[in-house]
Symmetry: C2
Subunit: 253 residues, 2 copies
């Protein structure tokens, strides 16, 4: 009726040592021991192991799994829904990776190789995996960064192209304004800044004026961005930084 360590290891795919370890740290202690001291796992224990492996697969530390499973809601329909949410999110991220790979394969076939920047941009979004899920499980997280993550994960290739195009459009008008000699703290530049902020809010996350000001600073500080903007037009990084800042000031912050 009950299984030995080796048998559990066999059906579950984990090692015997792992089961010993889980016993040691109190994550999964078999309900019974044979007279000789052999660990005997019951069906209940297997059920628990299943849940343990589930959360482990999602990257939770064992210690946290202990607390998650000690939650009385474990096993309820609600709990199942949460598991489902975590899993589908994960699948979504991996599918985004698949999509980007396919995109790259396509591009390579046509001899057009993406700039590393392009790829990192797309790639970066799902790379910082891992703990977004935990935060969600714990606090139901709603910070801007995670909001961005979620939205970005749901975008199609078409969306990305549109995002890129809209971004390029505003950039172009920034260059025009700058070349026309319009001041960075003038109304035209500030309106463009506001439009840029609106785009971010629309596509990624609620972009406050503080955040927008921070972004502007980054355009100057981060050599990557700096290089990119200066490649479009020398001085553009600083110009837009000043415009963003002026726009933020105009809106009282």
């Amino acid at each position: 009726m009950s299984l030995s360590v080796g048998q559990v290891a066999g059906v579950s795919g984990v090692s015997v040592r792992t089961l010993h370890h889980y016993d040691e740290i109190g994550l999964l202690s078999p309900g019974e021991r044979s007279p000789a001291g052999y660990r005997l796992y019951s069906e209940k224990d297997l059920e628990r192991l299943e849940r343990v492996l589930f959360y482990k697969e999602l990257g939770f530390p064992l210690e946290d799994i202990v607390t998650i499973l000690s939650d009385p809601t474990a096993g309820t329909a609600d709990h199942l829904r949460r598991q489902h949410k975590l899993l589908t999110r994960r699948v979504g991220r991996l599918q985004a990776m698949v999509a980007s790979l396919e995109y790259e394969m396509e591009a390579q076939q046509m001899g057009i190789s993406l700039t590393p920047e392009e790829r990192i941009e797309i790639f970066g979004d799902f790379l910082d995996k891992g703990y977004a899920e935990e935060a969600e499980e714990r606090w139901g997280g709603t910070e801007p960064w995670k909001e961005s993550q979620r939205k970005a994960a749901s975008y199609s290739k078409a969306d990305w192209l549109q995002i890129k195009q809209e971004g390029a459009e505003v950039e172009r008008r920034f260059v025009e304004a700058m070349n026309a000699g319009l001041p960075a703290d003038g109304p035209e530049a500030m309106d463009l800044a506001e439009e840029h902020r609106g785009q971010i809010t629309k596509w990624f996350y609620e972009c406050s004026y503080e955040i927008h000001r921070g972004l502007a600073q980054m355009y100057v500080d981060d050599p990557r961005f700096k290089a990119r903007y200066d490649g479009i037009a020398p001085g553009l990084a600083e110009y837009s930084r000043d415009a963003f800042a002026a726009n933020a000031a105009r809106h009282g912050k």
Copy 2:
């Protein structure tokens, strides 16, 4: 043009310490250092980091990633296809988990709770994840176990139901034979054994006579199987073991 550790950490989502570590073990050493000794990452380095994170996500040890990336085929179309294969396989497994979760949710809503055995059966297939991929990458693996893995991963719920039904059918006839007093090494029992072996080959993997004999032994040794068979009819586990063995002997092995 080139990024500092902190900047790379920012865009890629890994920690600064991780980058230091990758440098230490020679997995990713930045091409340049500033006069002050600061690590400077080029576009090429970022590209490599991207690949590193890709394989890391799939669970490869860092040491192996070194050798994978040192392979001159890295970055070619062929390499991309291999990456794509690994990824989609992974996605498939996770989707199977999703499906089984949905199945459980559905069942719970209808008040029918699955037996833990049922769940483990379905669950077990994708649990021993991890190294199937590595084996594939290294040896293009074709052993029975992995063949089984692959096939099992592709089955729909309908398939599983049919598998279950066919299995139950043979079981029923085994019970009949046993109850009719037919010897386990008689032609009827051996034919049933052969049919059982055929089913395994059809649904899971090329089941040789040795393997089949091993399975039979397991039916007796593994308390889970033993309990299950004895629950259907006392002595069934031993009866089928003997029949499998006789059938194997009949076929010259």
